[in-house]
């Protein structure tokens, strides 16, 4: 058997595979694609959804190849006669087949890696993932300078959110205006947590004494929850906070109400900083 002149048996298998792939892949892209998480409620999430669609589309023909090949081989070459089987033909390998296989897998892998890296560019999707304290210029969205800064503080075992451009008020709900770029600065004041806003396509680890920056621009009015995705102790599974994406007018009204209601506490808060080192820093007294 040579890669470029397959036997008639092999040709039939490949034909079946080709037909099924040509049918299945567009179906997957058209029908399954829009249902894929994380949905399209923010630009970051939408880009990630497209990314998932591309990968599913690439994986589909590979799955079909393996299923068709194994289904054929496991039925066609099953030993059916009575008694113990004789040996099969001593096929050791075929360099052209191996070369073709390596070439194809290498191409797919390099394409996927390049595609994934491309998706990290501005205006695309990777911005939803935490990039550390100094995000790359190349992976920062174009409207980052007018982004609304929101600090996410993880603590055992609750999320709180601080809005530095609104007097540094700290809240227990995450409310965001729609159609505005948000710059999340995620930090923790004790152990490692992970800020996961599924619908926004944002996940950034909250590491103490570090700030982790992520970007997202919500584009749909939304009510969902924000969860913790890194085991942080006893109530890790209960560490959720409500997330509301509302109209800008509603957001301003909410913000005014929060500032007036919680102004006594705001007076005691430390000045806004990207990271905090509250006592006790090692053992409690």
């Amino acid at each position: 058997m040579s890669a470029l002149r397959p036997s008639p048996e092999m040709r039939r298998v490949l034909l079946v595979w080709l037909v099924l792939s040509v049918i299945a892949t567009p179906l997957v892209v058209i029908l399954l694609g829009p249902q894929l998480p994380p949905g399209a409620a923010s630009d970051a999430a939408h880009g990630q959804q497209q990314d998932n669609t591309v990968m599913t589309a690439i994986v589909t023909p590979i799955i079909i190849l393996l299923i068709v090949y194994f289904a054929y081989v496991l039925s066609a070459f099953k030993h059916r006669a009575e008694g113990e089987p004789e040996d099969g033909p001593p096929m050791r390998g075929d360099v052209s087949v191996m070369a073709l296989w390596i070439g194809v897998t290498l191409t797919i892998v390099i394409f996927l890696a390049a595609w994934g890296a491309y998706e990290l560019f501005p205006g695309e999707t990777g911005a939803g993932g935490g990039q550390g304290p100094t995000p790359l210029a190349i992976a920062t969205p174009a409207d980052a300078s007018t982004a609304l800064p929101v600090q996410v503080i993880g603590q055992q075992w609750a999320w709180t959110f601080r809005y530095p451009t609104y007097g540094g008020v700290e809240t227990t709900e995450l409310v965001l205006p729609v159609n505005r770029q948000i710059r999340f600065t995620v930090t923790s004041i004790d152990v490692i947590h992970s800020f996961w806003a599924l619908k926004l396509g944002v996940k950034a680890d909250a590491v103490p004494n570090t700030s982790n920056v992520a970007f997202a621009k919500p584009v749909k009015l939304e009510a969902s929850t924000v969860r913790c995705a890194e085991l942080c102790g006893l109530w890790h599974g209960h560490m959720y906070a409500p997330l509301y994406v509302v109209t800008p007018a509603r957001f301003l009204a909410w913000m005014a109400e929060q500032r007036s209601r919680w102004s006594p506490a705001t007076r005691y808060l430390p000045p806004y900083a990207t990271k905090y080192a509250p006592e006790p820093t090692y053992r409690a007294e």
Partner: protein
């Protein structure tokens, strides 16, 4: 001994040992929990919870651990943090606070949240926000939006309690507030002050243990 005999003995021993060990594991480790304490009735759609926070349990294997205690309707103090209140009712909470202040990690929790009127009463006087450095513990039910800081006893106060449950003759602050219990469900509650003395970040030991500084509120 024949193989069949050996096999029978082995199988029976295996099943019995596995059953016993599994039973012990489930009952003594997995299901071990403090007893549930019911809130006392206090009128139509109202109930009252009485709790105390102590600086040290004073006896047993965890004598140096801070802890909550709860009073059951008969008036006895129970070492538990599993509380049960009726649904859709006003819950009047009284906390006798016997511990000294540690200070809040996040000063946000210095202002009470989720309680009726937004004001808590410390020793009878209304308080809108507590200086975070004076907080000794908090009583917080994050899923219901409730969070109340509990003021600490002065360091040099005389007659401090060393052995729980503490009586009213020892130095303490009394904090009262009311919250709405809402729909039935099981909600967790915890303390947000890093009050576990000697532990790393103040959050080890009792702060991670149900029955001490963490618990559940069953709304039925």
């Amino acid at each position: 001994m024949s193989f069949r005999r050996a096999g029978a003995i082995f199988s029976v021993t295996l099943v019995v040992c596995a059953g016993v060990l599994l039973g012990l594991y489930v009952t003594r480790f997995l299901e071990a929990a403090p007893p549930t304490v019911n809130a006392a009735a206090a009128g139509l759609r109202q109930s009252s919870l009485t709790l105390q926070t102590v600086a040290q349990v004073g006896h047993g294997e965890t004598r140096d651990w801070v802890s909550y205690y709860a009073r059951d309707p008969s008036g006895k103090w129970v070492h538990s943090t599993i509380l049960r209140v009726p649904a859709h009712s006003l819950v009047h909470v009284t906390v006798y606070q016997y511990d000294t202040a540690t200070g809040l990690r996040n000063p946000l929790w210095g202002q009470p949240r989720g309680i009726v009127g937004g004001v808590m009463y410390v020793n009878g006087k209304p308080l809108r926000v507590l200086n975070p450095e004076l907080a000794s513990h908090t009583f917080a039910i994050p899923d219901l939006g409730v969070s109340v800081p509990l003021e600490g006893v002065a360091e040099e106060a005389p007659n401090q309690c060393e052995n729980a449950p503490c009586g009213l003759d020892k130095a303490h602050n009394t904090i009262t507030f009311t919250f709405n219990s809402g729909a039935p469900g099981k909600y967790r509650w915890q303390c947000f002050v890093p009050c576990a003395a000697g532990f790393i970040l103040g959050f080890g030991g009792p702060m991670q243990t149900i029955g001490y500084m963490d618990g559940t509120l069953e709304v039925v």
